[in-house]
């Protein structure tokens, strides 16, 4: 009975017969380059993000080698400074953003019953300009010191504080590569945010009201709106920096009366909400996976959606908590302490709602759920250390120390990377038609989780012992060596974990078990079409009458709509 309902739905959307002959690789490549299909662009975004995750990870590994003990000479000081600049920039702009927008690209139309994004060509533009920006940034390695120099990457830190970025302190072109590269990736990100916003607001299928959208789609809606509000100020500041460096303007040129603090406000007005832009889609992924693997409807849908909106709204007013040590004065310090603590409330509410969803369920600990479980623990830690950092006097000690570095790696790896892994195990079958190996998935999970904790749990301690971030070496008598060594020892485990994942993907693409349309027995619309979905997703867009259309199909006697 239940299977009948499903098969009727899927029959109508099954793709035509596959072409029997394999096509030449050049034609396949051509297809990928000229594609405007949201699913292909989504995959391109995600693959780009994962590729740069490896690049950024290798940069971090070199830094960890250098810091494993005091007084090492693995890399010279300039190289170390370039490594942390490129690592931070890469992880935020070339890993976080593409992963988030990649998942949004792939899933949003499938989840709301749309045939594609609202502006498919703009979508392709957004991706390719981002990739162009990424390459431009890395071109600094050959072009940054002029073609006759040895070349150099920028060494300004990922938040590029003025006036270190001015010509007087950063000659050469490396800083300009950084500036222009992020400016153009920003254009791509804004374009894609507009696209997702338009799609979600105007292209939902029949019956898919806003109140019935999956929570993941709500998170993408929230972060797209935030992107439109916070990226333009960053772009504006970058244009000012461009004017400073090329036309002798003095926005941030303190030697000519410019303001160093202005850059910090501009940057963090972008930079802090950016963290929420990266983790809210992660929350969305968790909010899709946790119900399916505990076999329960999400607890408090409205609360979760409201909490995201709350995080988005309050999160836009917390930026200056990155600046408690710049001497803003007590009233501003107190105000930003208040807003920062306040943002902890909706975040806490979310954790409680996820726990309540798990409560009374029948939890299946397959790989996607394992990563979600680790996320709950990691984000609890990240949230609580975030409270420590909001307590201004405590922050005077913690800011710019290794404690902060540990905190935001818990936030971003816990709140994004772990959930991206969860999401990859969960939706890989939908995108490819094959399952990832569960056995390799478990190896991936345990290696990565243990390595992560060895590195980043330990990393809090040298911060408490007075070790500032961004130093290429440290004196031997500070008592920081043991902690740094343990931190470094966690790295090979994480590398191994990611390597297992890569093997898993490569092997499963060829030999993975066939997934079928709905391998997890899930409830959202993307599982109602074939795996992989055909071009334009649905031949006949299904009509939706609740938040879990596939639950309704599978349980016609107890549809969701009655309870919402």
């Amino acid at each position: 009975m239940k299977m009948d309902a499903m098969s009727v739905l899927v029959e109508t959307v099954a793709p035509g017969r596959e072409a029997a002959r394999p096509r030449p690789w050049l034609a396949v490549l051509h297809d990928w380059v000229v594609t405007v299909d949201h699913k292909r662009l989504g995959i391109l975004y995600v693959v780009t993000g994962l590729g740069f995750l490896v690049v950024g990870g290798l940069e971090a590994s070199m830094m960890r080698l250098q810091l494993a003990w005091s007084g090492l000479h693995v890399v010279p000081p300039e190289t170390f400074n370039r490594l942390f600049t490129m690592h931070g920039t890469t992880m935020v702009f070339l890993v976080g953003i593409p992963l988030v927008f990649g998942f949004g690209n792939y899933l949003v139309p499938l989840m709301i019953g749309a045939r594609d994004l609202a502006f498919p060509r703009l979508n392709a533009f957004g991706f390719w300009i981002l990739l162009f920006g990424a390459l431009l940034l890395h071109f600094s390695v050959v072009g940054g010191d002029g073609l006759y120099g040895a070349g150099s990457a920028p060494a300004i830190g990922w938040f590029a504080y003025a006036p270190l970025t001015e010509r007087a302190f950063s000659p050469g072109n490396a800083t300009d590569y950084w500036n222009l590269a992020l400016l153009v990736t920003g254009f791509g990100t804004i374009a894609t945010a507009i696209n997702l916003l338009a799609t979600i607001l105007t292209m939902r299928g029949p019956g898919m009201t806003l109140g019935r959208m999956p929570i993941f789609v709500w998170e993408i809606l929230t972060i797209s709106a935030m992107t439109l509000l916070i990226l333009p100020p960053l772009s504006a500041a970058q244009i000012m920096l461009l004017l400073d460096r090329f036309l002798g303007a003095h926005f941030f040129d303190t030697q000519a009366g410019g303001s160093a603090i202005a850059w910090q406000h501009f940057f963090w007005f972008f930079g802090h909400p950016e963290v929420y832009i990266l983790v809210l889609p992660g929350f969305g992924i968790a909010s899709e996976i946790i119900p399916v693997f505990s076999r329960k409807v999400i607890f408090g849908y409205v609360t979760l959606v409201a909490a995201s909106a709350g995080i988005g709204l309050v999160g836009m007013g917390t930026w200056a908590h990155h600046m408690f040590a710049v001497g803003m004065g007590s009233p501003l310090n107190s105000a930003f302490a208040a807003s920062t603590m306040l943002v902890g409330v909706p975040t806490g509410v979310k954790i409680f709602n996820w726990l309540a969803t798990l409560y009374g369920g029948r939890i299946r600990f397959q790989t996607p759920m394992l990563f979600c479980t680790a996320f709950l623990y990691l984000f609890l830690c990240a949230g609580l250390t975030g409270i420590h950092l909001a307590v201004v006097p405590f922050d005077w000690q913690l800011t710019d120390s290794y404690f902060v570095v540990a905190h935001f790696h818990f936030t971003l790896i816990g709140g994004l990377v772990f959930l991206v892994f969860a999401g990859l195990y969960y939706w890989f079958p939908k995108a490819t038609g094959r399952m990832l190996s569960e056995r390799l998935g478990r190896w991936h999970f345990w290696l990565f989780t243990i390595g992560f904790n060895l590195t980043f749990l330990t990393m809090h301690i040298p911060g408490l012992l007075g070790m500032p971030r961004r130093i290429y070496t440290y004196p031997a008598d500070r008592g920081w060596e043991v902690w740094n060594l343990v931190t470094t020892l966690g790295v090979p485990l994480q590398i191994l974990g990611v390597a297992v994942f890569v093997v898993n993907v490569v092997v499963s693409l060829r030999r993975g078990a066939p997934a079928g349309n709905d391998p997890w027995d899930a409830w959202t619309l993307e599982w109602a079409t074939s795996s992989p979905p055909p071009p334009y997703n649905f031949a006949i867009v299904p009509t939706v009458s609740s938040r879990r259309p596939l639950w309704d199909l599978k349980h016609p006697g107890d549809p969701d709509g009655l309870h919402e």
Binding site: L164, V297, Y359, Y377, V391
Partner: protein, 346 residues
Amino acid sequence: MIGKAARVASSLSALSSVLLTAAGGSAEGRAATPSIFAPVSTPAFAIRELAMFVLGITGVIFVVVAGLGVYVLVRFRRRRGDDRTEPPQVYGSRQIELAWTVVPLLIVAVLFLVTARYIYGVEGHRSREGALEVTVIGHQWWWEIRYPTLGIVTANELHVPVSDAARPTPTFLTVQSADVAHSFWIPQLAGKMDAIPNKTNRLWIEPLQPGTYVGQCAEYCGIQHAGMLLTAVVHSQDDFARWAAAQQTPARNDGDVQRGRTLFVSLACSSCHTVQGTPGNGVFGPDLTHLMSRSTLGAGVMPNSPENLRRWLDNPTALKPGALMPAMKLSPEELNDLTAYLLTLR
């Protein structure tokens, strides 16, 4: 309520101090671990007190939520023999959700009020009669330290008197930058204060125990950010008076090192460095009038010994890559003469 929590926290604090400093070298010796849990100065004590309170609260939250999580995950895992039916679907509960929104709000309200009190308490502390005024100026990559009321200029070592109940002598620092943003941080004395060009910040310390405390620049400021170390020497009040008197004496002018002195004045040295009583009055590099009274060279990157000084004069960037002082390409004799001269600047 705060007092009670602080008492509970202080026992935790004792435990964690042991944990945190045990690994960090001995208490004697020049540089113990600059742990934020081993304060010696009034504002740093205040911060630790607040930190312990906050760590206590968040520790309880962690135990409760993580405990709940473990319970749920274990209790409701799928077991062998579970039938394939779905568990009861619970869509939400106004009351419960309201409760776990309001309780965190109340905790946040308490945390905020306590935090605001400490912010105003520390930042609102005003200079008084008897307080020492010091100006700290961050440079790429060293610290200029000036005592405007005493007429002393030195570098990288902050000398201050200990403060006691009978004669409180806090030190008020004016923190500035000559080039890019830096951050002044000696964890055992106070929290950070950024040194930002075109901005004047204030910070105060009140060390209660003589000793030597280390710190360093905490805001990335270019290639030698790591080589911008700081030392605070807290003297007894009498020792501080002696130190100040020694610093106020003019530079030595020994007859047997005249050749070195002539080199210092005639080479480019004097355009960046000052030695009181010579034509050398540069301000780009550290004041050298009492160079040999300082314990390190290159802002803490090596001990100040005659051999190191000679190597430094020969080629600074070999010892501190990226340092802005150029190698002057001196002959060995010139190096000897110049070193001999600088060694007399005690």
